[in-house]
């Protein structure tokens, strides 16, 4: 206030009051101050200008200030600018605005009432000769609305249900059917370890099918994909999290089965050579029908007469097949795991696309085994039962650990590069994939072909970036994967001297982005490929 207001009163005394519509410029003023165009004139006031813009505009409307304003004259332009700045910042707390509305100020005209002259739309003084010469009224640069919404609504269960399309609903119902099958298998597994193990596998299938459906339905909503301030990457990372939970389930199931198996083994051993009479009898009381541990004794209630079809394992196999073909679940999980499958499997079986998925492979394999054993009238050995159970448990455990590690790495915000190219044999589209990647490389003539297994690791990409002619060095390189379809590369690059013009920079940026995408973005033909968002912060050497 101190530099501003006294001067304006000085110059304001000589002017004829009664400009009725000064307030039309107010909007302009506050944007000018916000943008800081007058910063060169009033250096000291600049920091405080940006904050109270809205209040300052209302302060301008107050009648007390209304009389002070007048068209700027050439000799007072400089002072006037200072005064605007001053009053914008300092006057607002002094004169508390009672009426912050524009229409109120129309009544304060002191001169003769001229109906429409001053009230036309636009800036009163903008086109006067003074303004034109001195660029006083600068058009404020258009300010975009906030880029991000603060937070998008997370759908409730009801909304999600309402948003489902027909196909999605069908998938949900199928998921329920699958769950019913799993329950059936579980409860019909009375006594047989192998069937219990199989039911664990089917439960896992159900879980991941449910995750697939949930992901599909949530994809209807904007909060899933679009980033907001609260969820910077959308909710898509939840899928990884659910996958991680499922892998914990796998590990847990593996542990559980192994412990059962061990316990049964110990029980039978204890039965055979009774160390401890009480314990042995207690154990025998629990499973009275198991008399000879190595005999041909059948296991409790579970007994499939040779030659008949085991309904439970048939149901398990059928539901898995339907899930695999219809739902295509596990697809994304598999891609994350990058399990190298023996190539002979792909060449033997035509349905390698499905069998390449280790989870489907496991379930199908074991359920067919269970189906076939009674059919070919193999007697139901206890040791065979245990063996199958142990096999399932071990594979569950191994797969679960690998899955947990792969997804845990993603959740830890890291990027684990591809293994050597060609390891994921059995995928039919692999050949064409490689071709597209190669074509992409040819168009990018600067790409240095490193070749071999080290081709797509992060460090090789960084090395390649460093070998660009304009790049003097890479200060920081952060590569990490957000979710199945998105990864980020944040680079801080030092440039050599003398190539700072915009076109070169822009070209360099897009070239770096292309290098990263071509090298690390995997599998163009395999459905959702990995998209890289590359951010390059440049600085000049020296």
């Amino acid at each position: 206030m101190a530099p501003g207001l006294p001067s304006i009163e000085l110059s304001g005394t000589s002017s004829a009051p009664g400009e009725p519509s000064f307030h039309f410029t107010c909007d302009d003023y506050d944007k000018d101050t916000g943008q800081g165009s007058a910063a060169s004139v009033v250096q000291g006031l600049e920091p405080s200008v940006a904050a109270p813009t809205r209040r300052s505009s209302s302060a301008f409307l107050h009648p007390q200030h209304a009389a002070l304003l007048r068209p700027p004259t050439p000799e007072s332009t400089l002072i006037n600018m200072a005064s605007e700045e001053g009053s914008a910042t300092a006057a607002s707390p002094a004169s508390a605005p009672k009426n912050p509305f524009n229409f109120q100020t129309q009544f304060i005209s002191t001169g003769p009432v001229k109906p429409n002259i001053g009230q036309r739309r636009g800036h009163r003084y903008k086109h006067s000769s003074i303004s034109a010469q001195h660029q006083f009224f600068q058009e404020p640069p258009p300010r975009p609305p906030p880029v991000l919404p603060a937070s998008l609504p997370v759908p409730t269960f009801k909304e999600a249900w309402a948003s489902m399309q027909r196909e999605q609903r069908a998938r949900l119902w199928w998921c329920c059917c699958h769950a019913a099958v799993a329950m059936y298998v579980f409860f019909s597994a009375e006594g047989s370890l192998a069937m219990t193990a199989l039911s664990h596998l089917v439960f896992f299938d159900v879980g991941s099918a449910a995750v697939c459906v949930a992901v599909d339905v949530l994809g209807n909503f904007e909060v899933w994909r679009r980033s907001s301030i609260r969820h910077p990457f959308g909710l898509q990372r939840a899928e990884v999290l659910a996958g991680f939970a499922m892998s914990v389930f796998l590990v847990f199931g593996g542990f559980d089965l192994i412990s059962h198996n061990l316990k049964h083994l110990l029980e039978s051993v204890g039965e055979h050579v009774p160390h401890h009479p009480t314990a042995a009898t207690a154990a025998a009381a629990a499973t009275p029908d198991r008399v000879h541990s190595h005999g041909h004794s059948h296991h409790g209630a579970r007994y499939i007469s040779p030659g008949t079809v085991d309904l439970a394992s048939l149901a398990a196999a059928a539901s898995t097949l339907v899930s695999a073909y219809g739902l295509r679940n596990h697809g994304r999980i598999r891609r994350v795991m990058r399990v190298p499958l023996p190539s002979y499997l792909g060449s033997i079986l035509p349905a390698a696309g499905i069998l390449a998925n280790p989870f489907h492979f496991l379930t199908l394999c074991f359920s067919f085994l269970m189906l076939l054993l009674p059919l070919v009238s193999v007697p139901h050995f206890v040791w065979l039962d245990r063996l199958i159970c142990a096999a399932i448990a071990a594979s569950m455990f191994v797969l679960g650990t690998r899955l947990a590690v792969a997804q845990g790495l993603m959740l830890l915000m890291s990027y684990s590069g591809l293994p050597a190219v060609g390891s994921s044999g059995g995928d039919l589209k692999m050949g064409s994939d490689r071709k597209t990647v190669a074509a992409g490389k040819k168009t990018d003539e600067r790409t240095v072909v490193v070749g071999g297994a080290s081709e797509s690791t992060v460090s090789s990409v960084v090395r390649e970036i460093e070998s660009e002619p304009q790049v003097a060095g890479v200060e920081e390189a952060q590569f990490w994967q957000v979710h199945y379809g998105l990864a980020m590369a944040n680079l801080k690059v030092r440039l050599v001297r003398g190539c700072v013009d915009d076109a070169t920079l822009s070209q360099l940026r897009s070239r770096l982005a292309r290098v990263v995408q071509n090298r690390l973005g995997e599998g163009y033909g395999r459905g959702g490929n990995l998209r890289w968002e590359v951010t390059v912060q440049t600085s000049t050497e020296g």
């Binding site: 909007d27 800081g36 910063a39 524009n102 739309r121 640069p141 258009p142 300010r143 975009p144 906030p146 880029v147 991000l148 603060a150 937070s151 009375e190 980033s227 301030i229 609260r230 969820h231 910077p232 909710l235 999290l241 939970a245 914990v248 389930f249 412990s259 059962h260 061990l262 316990k263 029980e267 160390h275 401890h276 009480t278 314990a279 207690a282 629990a286 409790g300 947990a404 959740l411 830890l412 915000m413 890291s414 990027y415 684990s416 992060v458 960084v462 952060q478 990490w480 944040n490 700072v500 915009d502 920079l505 822009s506 940026r509 897009s510 982005a513 968002e533 951010t535 912060q537 600085s539």
Partner: protein
């Protein structure tokens, strides 16, 4: 220690054996927790650009899910599936009277062991004075608690069955325990999931919005795009609410790009945000973030001035 128990009692008792299996799994879970606590102090590397701060959360999440599954299993067994005993109620499926005492004994053994672990680990991390609540420790604590409660339930139901011959005590006790564990594990899973999803906590979000709206007021900045921020937990000591992030900024035609970069970076650093900043020239719309492509600005201005009249 589990191995010791295993070999120590291998010739003695079946109940102890099966319990030692259980204890072994407990040990694995605790070991993972311990590993996570140690690994979270590792420095960032090329493969893990943001360090291992999240590994504790991850371990907590895993522990929570594990407990939830355990609860499901116990619940399922409580509802009439007695043919295999697991975990906390394994004493019963073999009949209670035979080795209930031994079972109790071994459980106590397990407890002393677990508590030792439990006591030792907070002392390990107390020196760092975590400002945020530690999900890893929470998970381990819950795990130990679940074990304790499980064995308490075993004892209680054994005593009850001893006095009143009703077979329903055991399922009832395990069911109660299951509900308790589930209720205590849910918040853990929720909070750790939120952190793993890179969600910005509400109070930080508010100040972040303020900060972002101030960016366009900086000199030379036309607009910005693709702002993505996440909580930095590289070192839990200093950064209470520090953010890391990525942003693209469009510099005005005449402005110096280096100047714009430094200005925005310093502005954000003042607000405890460390960004990787890509500065683009106005009109250059080659970037994926699509700053130059949409012309949101003009219609916005016109509608606003119309709104006044």
């Amino acid at each position: 220690m589990a191995v010791q128990a295993f070999y120590g009692y291998v010739t003695d008792s079946l109940g102890l054996l099966s319990d030692s299996i259980h204890m072994f799994f407990d040990c694995v879970a605790l070991g993972i927790g311990l590993f996570a606590a140690v690994a979270s102090k590792w420095p960032p590397s090329e493969r893990f650009p943001y360090g291992f701060g999240k590994i504790e959360t991850l371990s907590g999440f895993g522990n929570g899910v594990f407990l939830g599954l355990l609860v499901n299993l116990v619940g399922m067994m409580a509802f009439g599936h007695h043919h295999h005993g697991h975990g906390h109620s394994h004493g019963h499926s073999h009949g209670c009277n035979g080795h209930a005492y031994e079972d109790k004994h071994s459980h106590n053994h397990g407890h002393s062991h677990s508590h030792q672990h439990h006591d030792e680990k907070p002392s390990h991390t107390h020196g760092h004075s975590h400002s945020h609540d530690n999900e890893n420790m929470h998970g381990i604590y819950l795990h130990v608690l679940a074990d304790t409660l499980g064995s308490a339930a075993v004892i209680a139901s054994t005593v009850l069955t001893h006095f009143w011959k009703w077979s329903g005590w055991d399922p009832l006790a395990s069911f109660l325990i299951a509900v308790l564990i589930l209720l205590s594990a849910l918040p853990l899973v929720k909070s750790s999931a939120r952190r793993l999803l890179l969600t910005i906590p509400p109070e930080t979000e508010y100040s972040l919005r303020e900060t972002l709206s101030g960016i366009t007021g900086l000199r030379g900045v036309v607009s910005y795009a693709a702002p993505k921020f996440w909580v930095d937990d590289r070192n839990a000591v200093s950064s209470a609410d520090k953010l890391l992030g990525v942003m693209h900024v469009v510099a005005a035609k005449g402005a110096d790009m280096e100047d714009v970069r430094d200005r925005v970076r310093n502005y954000l650093l003042e607000h405890k945000i460390d960004v990787t900043l890509q500065v683009e020239r106005e009109g250059d719309n080659t970037c994926w973030c699509g700053v130059g492509r949409s012309t949101l600005a003009q219609p916005h201005m016109s509608t606003r001035s119309v709104g006044i009249f």
